[in-house]
């Protein structure tokens, strides 16, 4: 499988303050891409920034993919200046993908801010295969941070909006809202967003016996499991602690295997 592609930028538009959607034209990536996978973008042909930028695939089209990103550093700032018609070097698709819900199992997505990025492709896939769209908790700081609402509605998702400032939907945190829902025991939860949110979603799921898959991120150099930079402490077998690579064993993890106490702020 060819993994390095020159793509033509079809669109690179600001969809909300500081948030962009990049549409890349390429016929090879969609053949192999699965929801939850990511690509590494070469944002500069020079040495600053030195490394590629890992980005979740937002949607998979027959002739390309889209990526939703937030400008948060030098790399994404440069990326946001690229225009339609320009070329960009793309490595991927990389990593594992979201497991799909078993027959008739309900699924619920908990997306925080730019953490919504991998979910449109997942919803599309579940809809295509199962015929039922997952429910979505779309959370953000303000209504400006709620992305993809229209896309989810078009795909037939039941959506719950949650904002910290109450500018749209339920006022509060995604996790408070999640707790307030009456969900069946066999529900499958998908989540992505700020690390503290994912951690809380995991705890709620754990308490209720819900299976939860999270899309995680990490500083990453190679995307191929070589540099060992993006690791997280995990426990796959009882009593055996190991490091899992976000780029290779992930980015999608059953949240029960991650040793949450050992990551983030001490």
């Amino acid at each position: 499988m060819k993994k390095i592609h020159e793509c033509i930028i079809r669109l690179n538009n600001e969809v909300s303050p500081n948030h962009y959607r990049l549409v890349l034209q390429n016929k090879d990536i969609p053949i192999h891409a699965l929801p939850g996978q990511f690509v590494m973008l070469e944002v500069s042909t020079g040495y600053y920034p030195f490394l590629r930028r890992p980005m979740s695939i937002e949607r998979i089209f027959h002739d390309g993919i889209s990526i939703l990103y937030k400008v948060c550093g030098e790399g994404t700032k440069i990326l946001s200046t690229l225009s339609a018609g320009e070329k960009i070097n793309v490595q991927g698709p990389l990593g594992n993908s979201f497991p799909l819900p078993e027959d008739n199992k309900r699924s619920l997505i908990v997306a925080g801010g730019i953490g919504v990025a991998p979910f449109p492709a997942l919803v599309e896939k579940i809809l295509n295969i199962k015929g039922i769209a997952p429910e979505v908790i779309l959370a953000g700081k303000t209504f400006n941070h709620l992305l993809c609402e229209k896309d989810f509605r078009q795909m037939g998702c039941k959506i719950h909006l949650v904002t910290e400032d109450g500018s749209a939907g339920y006022k509060g945190m995604a996790t408070d809202f999640l707790k307030s829902l009456d969900l069946p025991e066999n529900i499958l939860i998908y989540t992505c967003g700020p690390l503290p949110m994912i951690k809380n979603v995991h705890e709620i799921c754990n308490k209720n016996g819900w299976l939860c898959y999270a899309s995680l991120e990490a500083e990453m150099a190679c995307g191929e499991g070589v540099c060992l930079g993006c690791v997280l402490p995990a426990r796959i077998e009882v009593e055996k602690e190991m490091m899992v690579r976000v780029c290779k064993e992930g980015p999608i993890f059953d949240t029960r295997i991650i040793l949450w106490d050992k990551i983030g702020e001490e």
């Binding site: 190679c222 993006c230 490091m243």
Partner: protein
Amino acid sequence: MNVNMKVTIGNLTLKNPVTVASGTFGYGEEYSEYFDISCLGAVTVKSLTLKPRLGNPPPRIVETPAGMLNAIGLQNVGLEVYLKEKLPYLRQKKCTIIANIYGTSIQEYEELAERLEKEGGADAIEMNLSCPNVHDARSRYKCPLVAQSPEWVEKYTMAVRSKIKLPLIVKLSPNVTDITEPAISAEKGGADAISIINTLLGMSIDIKTQKPKLKNVVGGLSGPAIRPVAVKMVWDVSRTVKIPVIGMGGICTVNDALEFIFAGAKLIAVGSFIFRDPLAPIKIIQGLEEYCNSHRIEDINKLIGSVIIS
């Protein structure tokens, strides 16, 4: 023109002078989807230790201007898993293998080298005497690296030399006042080649949290940012010792590779730039051949140390 691209290290002949720096190419198989890895002069594998190592807690890497800092801490599968699960693929692909080894004592280096030779696990051994990330930077004594003591370099090299017949490479640290001193020691100890340079120690602080960006506090700097330092050290060492120098440090393109060869390197290694462009080593091999062709050089060895200093 048919250019001779072959180079020799000890009694080992490599099909071309391009390898990869340990730790930037895994155990080879990871990049086999990108190109035919047997085209490399040699595959240098991630540092091996006797027992598997978990490595340092994350965050382990941070991007820096024209490079990156890493403090992986030698996470690796260990010798047994390497021999059982990683080696067969490399052998099946008919790769020339440089096994990089790390021990916490002379005995561990000896055991690793002996086992690798006995079980056909390598075509050359590279002793990593210079990993900057296995000691706690906060400790008062800062635990010097073996490569920072010429005396120890000679002792370690001599010990391993006496145990194996395979070509022996010693990888040195740039974190010294005069790199030629440990280089001379490695030669005296019986090394067949010297790899320079390992990463330069560095540190990066997050101004928002006021904490180091790496959990390990400090790490090793690599990438084009360190290239001029590496070229200079290759030049220093290659004028001082008779054994070949393997040059590495920020090589991204064929022009970078040529700089190292002109400075005196017989073999060059592509390092962290592989993370950015996995095809870089292949592009460099092709580029070197094209350079020789267009400059009517029939043997790449003629370029080694050909820098003109007037």
